[in-house]
Symmetry: C2
Subunit: 440 residues, 2 copies
């Protein structure tokens, strides 16, 4: 039944039913969380033995004592492994600490203080803007706010951000210094950039000579199905386009091994890497090499990482499937919501009717189910349509997830019905209403 | 025999002997390193079982799964342990990654970008100067160079930096925003600041309201003898003086557990810590909690850390003793060198006759013994007297160390003799010469 065209009496009756259901869930005193992309304990268990596997042998392949100082760019065998996985050369990657966010933050901080290209032109001397394809990752946007970088929202299409808009903007405005991208199984959209999008990002003419792509490939190997998305290699594309230094590729094992105790990495041109190494030499004594050694010993090679990821998928795919099933069953024919059904990553991007997202999140919270803040997926926490909600289904156990999702579906319906009824009060002539929710 | 007053003929004869000795060492094709304060493998072996000790149990005392995300300020039990050791409250400390240098770098970077006191007055907007007690730690000075902070050299006295000079400078110049201190078993001097020095640093009137002490307490528990130096608590002193936010205390377990895979920490006022936590929340997913858990399980309590440090001392004290013995035997009565004989830390501060240090380091390098660069212990790598050399005796095995130190003593004598002879050429009237080498 299409709620938008349902007659008001039936709608009022349906509202009553929903209110009863909501009250029922509220009475359960739930305390469930679907707010962050956290692996669940069963996923973490997949890496059992990783640390213990060192077993008192601390020498890397080249004889380095991993307990001692040294080795800024990461262990050679760790660089080799993740270079293969990211399809770059070992000389194009630094394997570092446990947080790719920290690598991004630090690169941005250095750009503000020193610039990015050795020309000693600190970004902070002039206004700086970043392009922010949205819905996107809230922590990227938070970094822009921290560094007082003005954010320009770029709409997302089915195959990545709107390149027409991007090309137009970067061609004329040299204060646009960068763009945030989660190019594979995007957070939260689940979208993987098409080859054409990657090529255009690499090729486009930018007025700022020091324009940089912050390519957060956090879900590079995080397929949910056997049919994985393929992402075109942007470093190669940038080289071919004559912009070899344009991109920083970030990734980590946070959702491969241990979320809080994995390895983070940045891949980029040799020139960028040399510059980064000089700065890292002043910043730190180097990464924790013991953790790198433990990872390399545990995963051995790229194939084993890939088969390890299949084990992750086997644990979390049922959670995504459950969400899709509940959404289809409860919301499928009601014309009040759309959602992504990604083939990988950690999120479902859910769109309500315009103007409903905040209220849905509040209602769910009032009944004990915590969701990512509505608006978080947009710059400045401001979703202009107030309709996008990021669903993170990986952490809760299936049974709790089911309760949380069912409650969520009730909240979506209830808020939608209220909004439809509210609108009718002020729209006495019954025009067929439009569903403006868009797939993102 | 006092080389300064020795007659020229005897001196020429002695020079010949030294040249033969030097040639002998050079013929050995040595490859020895006394340049950095690195623990030796036997010291690292003291922490055997640290990582393996987790044994698949990853829950912290409060139930936190240390494998997953979360916990910006460090595990409660880690904060508790190091708070006790640093004599601060657990709420006054953050236990973080493996590099206290990174904590210093990042605090300085944030100060440049955002200021330190919530007034949004970035240091980078105006010229910034730092006081640099010298000889000091080259990596501190490198950070100043990186951030274009002008360094003002402050002479070291027997009980810490020259406070008369410091008080005079900070009282009148509001561009002086900070001071670097290694207050206990200083790098390289080995000096521990007296209570009076600590009190005056805490109390002094600074024209800059946002003046900060960067208190690098890297050797807080690193006694070489049973009689340990006691360092007055600067955080308490700052509170008592009405400047609670003046100091950041840094330390790490790099020379307790694993040099490259330990824990670093910063202790400061609650207000500073709250500010720092907000910034860390944007920078990183948090520290590697598994490593913190492993450390806490391994060390258990403060007493065990202290007794662990006795084991370190038992390994490295003989290396210091060997250096003292060789220096006394070879240089003791020659009036051409002075050196510190510290009760803790990782270094011996060695002073040649003025104008000899660079040449000594070069000669030693030419014979295969690498020392810290002459000048490194002063701002801009420029020792105005060219006389200070930092000796780091901890890493080489005793036998190699002996060879390296003996060669070093030959180089010191040879360069000194050459300089004395050179001087006499231009000083035909034989006046008694003065030894201007000073203990640092």
């Amino acid at each position: 039944m299409d709620l938008l065209t349902l007659d008001t009496n039936t709608l009022l009756h349906f509202q009553k039913q929903l209110q009863l259901k909501y009250a029922h869930y509220k009475g359960k005193n739930l305390k469930l969380n679907m707010s962050r992309g956290k692996p669940c304990p069963e996923q973490l268990d997949l890496s059992a033995g990783l640390l213990e596997g060192l077993d008192g042998v601390f020498q890397a392949a080249d004889g380095t004592d991993c307990r001692n100082y040294g080795g800024l760019e990461g262990l050679p065998e760790a660089r080799h492994l993740f270079a293969e996985l990211l399809e770059v050369e070992p000389e194009e990657i630094i394997v570092h600490g446990n947080s790719s966010l920290a690598l991004m933050h630090d690169l941005l901080a250095r750009a503000m203080l020193f610039g990015v290209d050795g020309q000693e032109s600190p970004w902070s001397r002039h206004p700086v803007k970043f392009l922010c394809p949205s819905p996107g990752y809230d922590r990227h946007f938070a970094l822009c706010e921290l560094f007082k970088i003005e954010m320009i929202t770029i709409p997302m299409r089915d195959d990545g951000p709107d390149l027409d808009r991007i090309e137009e903007l970067v061609a004329k405005d040299d204060s646009i210094k960068g763009i945030w991208c989660v190019p594979k199984y995007g957070n939260p959209t689940g979208i993987t950039y098409s080859d054409q999008v990657v090529t255009r990002l690499a090729k486009m003419k930018t007025k700022a000579q020091d324009f940089r792509i912050f390519w957060d490939n956090a879900y590079a190997w995080h397929d949910l199905t056997a049919k994985s998305d393929r992402l075109k290699n942007i470093l190669t594309a940038c080289k071919e386009a004559g912009h070899p230094d344009r991109v920083y590729i970030f990734s980590s094992t946070s959702k491969i091994s241990y979320a809080g105790a994995g390895l983070a990495m940045v891949a980029t041109s040799r020139a960028n890497l040399e510059r980064l190494k000089k700065q890292l030499a002043l910043q730190t004594i180097g990464p924790n090499k013991l953790n790198q050694l433990a990872h390399v010993r545990f995963f051995k090679n790229a194939d084993q990482v890939r088969s390890h990821m299949e084990k992750h998928a086997a644990i979390i795919r049922p959670k995504f499937d459950l969400a899709f099933k509940i959404f289809r069953t409860e919301l499928g024919d009601k014309n009040i919501a759309t959602w992504s059904e990604p083939r990988g990553g950690y999120f479902i991007s859910f769109n309500t009717l315009p103007g409903c997202a905040k209220q849905v999140v509040q209602m769910a919270a009032a009944a004990g189910v915590e969701l990512t803040n509505a608006g978080a997926t947009f710059p400045y926490g401001n979703d202009p349509q107030d309709q996008n909600i990021r669903i993170a289904p990986t952490y809760p156990p299936l049974k709790e997830l089911q309760t949380a999702l069912e409650l969520f579906a009730v909240c979506v319906q209830l808020v939608s019905v209220e909004q439809i009824l509210q609108r009718r009060k002020f729209t006495p002539e019954r025009l067929p209403e439009q569903n403006t929710a868009q797939i993102v």
